[in-house]
């Protein structure tokens, strides 16, 4: 047992490309490293010298799964630096609806196509589809509903083109949103079933004592803004983020790792949002969470699949609420003039808080850009968590341990393509 080595060539069903190394000596886990070996994305450098108004269209290209998140954090930062006051209520509502569409799409992909097969013992979603076609069909229905929302508001399904600093180019009419309502209602029923389905999956008994960070808003389940709060008492504005969080380069990864100033590794994403904002979920989502057996705080990373399903339900419910109260804003956006300075913006991407900081000059040329995606914030904490998880299961044979590790990594839904880019897993037992 002391001298074994496990090498997994590709860890599938994780967004992006990376690797995981586990070193075990005499039954003790010595080190767990998530390596990311594609050169960092050069978007921050791309942005320098571009116009401040170009950020939503350029940053949307960082990720094919969560383009809206990039757009929303980038425009929040630009509106901050340019001194744009509160926007029309309906412009904000449209942004939130668009974001709900992305949450539904991204979570449905992860829950059903990437993560659920692990729990049911399938190596892929299409294997699962042969035995559980209904589950996969409902996932496709959910994704379709999210798509519909993105298409009507964003102008198209992926990489929306209707978003701009100051609002939208064009506001959809109520008539244009009407057909989406029916799709969302059907999808909400599927989402209710999805919560029950995920709750029925067998999950390993494993809990972690996380420091959770998530945006929070007194009135709603925070998505497109708020203050950054934690279960340890942090309460920050966007401009205070880098005073409290440091990014460090670690040798085994080309993505930067984040930690709090005191060295604490923290977690962002669905588990954090749920722990900190559960009270702000809509009644139907809260009831579904209760019925699924979720406590006020969920510390089992494998149960994050249930939390994601609850968030799908919430996002559909919330989009329906917003559409019902919707009146097209006229104008659909405000003219924004550049103003030299530094601006900060953050929003809750499906995988967690996404922070942007820009410096622009008086002409509106971008001088500096900094983007901190959720996966790079979580990476250090995922390593810590895996350390404990592997130790707890060190007696498993190599294949079984590898599968469990893959499942554990996937429970964090790391989007390594955002932070940089397949995941390989290597277990070295000396």
């Amino acid at each position: 047992m002391a001298d074994r080595e496990i090498i997994t060539e590709v860890l599938a069903r994780v967004e992006g490309e990376g690797a995981m190394d586990v070193r075990i000596r005499d039954g003790q886990v010595q080190d767990v490293q998530l390596r990311i070996y594609e050169p960092p994305r050069f978007f921050e450098a791309f942005l320098r010298g571009r116009r401040f108004t170009e950020v939503p269209d350029i940053t949307a290209r960082i990720c094919g799964i969560c383009p809206v998140a990039y757009q929303m954090s980038s425009i929040a930062a630009m509106e901050d630096v340019c001194g744009v006051g509160p926007l029309h209520e309906q412009i904000r509502a449209l942004r939130r609806m668009l974001y709900c569409g992305e949450w539904v799409e991204s979570h449905a992909l992860h829950v059903f196509m990437l993560h659920a097969p692990d729990f049911l013992g399938y190596s892929s979603a299409f294997e699962m589809a042969r035995d559980h076609p209904g589950v996969v069909e409902s996932a496709l229905q959910l994704k379709k509903a999210g798509n519909a929302l993105m298409r009507v508001i964003g102008g198209r399904e992926i990489h929306p083109i209707n978003v701009r600093v100051g609002g939208f180019y064009r506001a959809p009419t109520r008539a244009e949103l009407a057909p989406v309502v029916e799709e969302l209602k059907v999808a909400r029923e599927f989402a209710l079933e999805a919560v029950a389905f995920t709750a029925s999956l067998p999950t390993p008994d494993f809990e972690e004592d996380y420091v959770f960070l998530a945006l929070s808003d007194p009135d709603v389940y925070a998505i497109e803004g708020g203050r950054l709060v934690s279960n340890t008492g942090l309460d920050l504005a966007p401009s205070q983020y880098d005073e409290h969080v440091v990014e460090e380069h670690v040798e085994h990864s080309t993505a930067l790792h984040s930690r709090l100033r005191d060295g604490t590794r923290y977690l962002v994403g669905p588990l954090a949002r749920y722990a900190l904002n559960r009270e702000r979920l809509s009644p139907v989502a809260r009831e579904a969470a209760d019925a699924a057996g979720l406590q006020d705080v969920c510390r089992n990373p494998f149960r994050s699949i249930v939390v994601r399903a609850v968030e799908i339900l919430y996002a559909l419910d919330e989009a329906l609420r917003l559409i019902e109260a919707y009146e097209p804003p006229d104008p659909p956006g405000v003219e924004v003039l550049p103003h030299a300075g530094v601006g900060h913006g953050w929003t809750e991407a499906p995988r967690g808080m996404l922070w942007h900081r820009y410096e622009i000059d008086d002409d509106g040329t971008i001088l500096d850009a900094k983007i901190v995606p959720p996966t790079s914030q979580n990476q250090g904490r995922i390593e810590e968590s895996l350390h404990g998880f592997v130790q707890q299961h060190v007696e498993l044979d190599d294949d079984e341990l590898r599968l469990r590790c893959e499942q554990a990594v996937r429970s964090y839904d790391p989007c390594i393509s955002c932070a940089t880019h397949f995941l390989r897993l290597e277990i070295d037992r000396g």
């Binding site: 599938a12 069903r13 791309f46 094919g64 990437l114 299409f126 069909e137 496709l140 992926i158 990489h159």
Partner: protein
């Protein structure tokens, strides 16, 4: 129906999208053209209702850049390793198998894979890929006249 798949901001990964756009310019009305970026599960919906579908994607199989391979996806699974549509772990081959399991494959599905040279960040296609895109788009457009 012609569907281009890829990421236009990662060099030759945009080859499929480039073919779709070119076919749109060249093809007669009645040929539906779509572009799918990001997650390839969208393909299953994109081709629903269409009888004859062509999907074009970028490939990374080790062949010389610009090499075009054609696969009949109805008769057998795609060679997973050679298609690279996505950094998303859910690519065209996954979408095809998902559709097969759900009995949602079109009656005829041809997948063309264009071998890329470079997949680094940027909007440009390599010259060999550019030529392959032009030739394939012209062939696809005229096949439907």
């Amino acid at each position: 129906m012609v569907i281009g798949v890829g990421n236009g901001w990662r060099g030759d990964d945009g080859a499929g999208l480039a073919v779709a756009r070119r076919v749109r310019e060249l093809a007669p009305a009645g040929v539906e053209v779509r572009e799918v970026e990001g997650d390839a599960t969208a393909l299953v919906d994109a081709w629903s209702g269409a009888a004859r579908v062509v999907v074009v994607d970028a490939a990374e199989s080790g062949a010389p850049p610009g090499t075009v391979q054609r696969f009949d996806a109805r008769s057998q699974p795609l060679p997973v390793r050679s298609l690279r549509s996505s950094t998303h772990a859910f690519g065209v081959s996954d979408a095809v198998e998902l559709a097969r399991a759900l009995r949602r494959l079109p009656d005829r599905l041809d997948v063309y894979a264009i071998e890329g040279a470079s997949f680094t960040a940027g909007e440009r296609l390599s010259p060999a890929v550019e030529r392959a895109v032009d030739e394939l788009a012209t062939a696809l457009a005229s096949a439907r006249r």
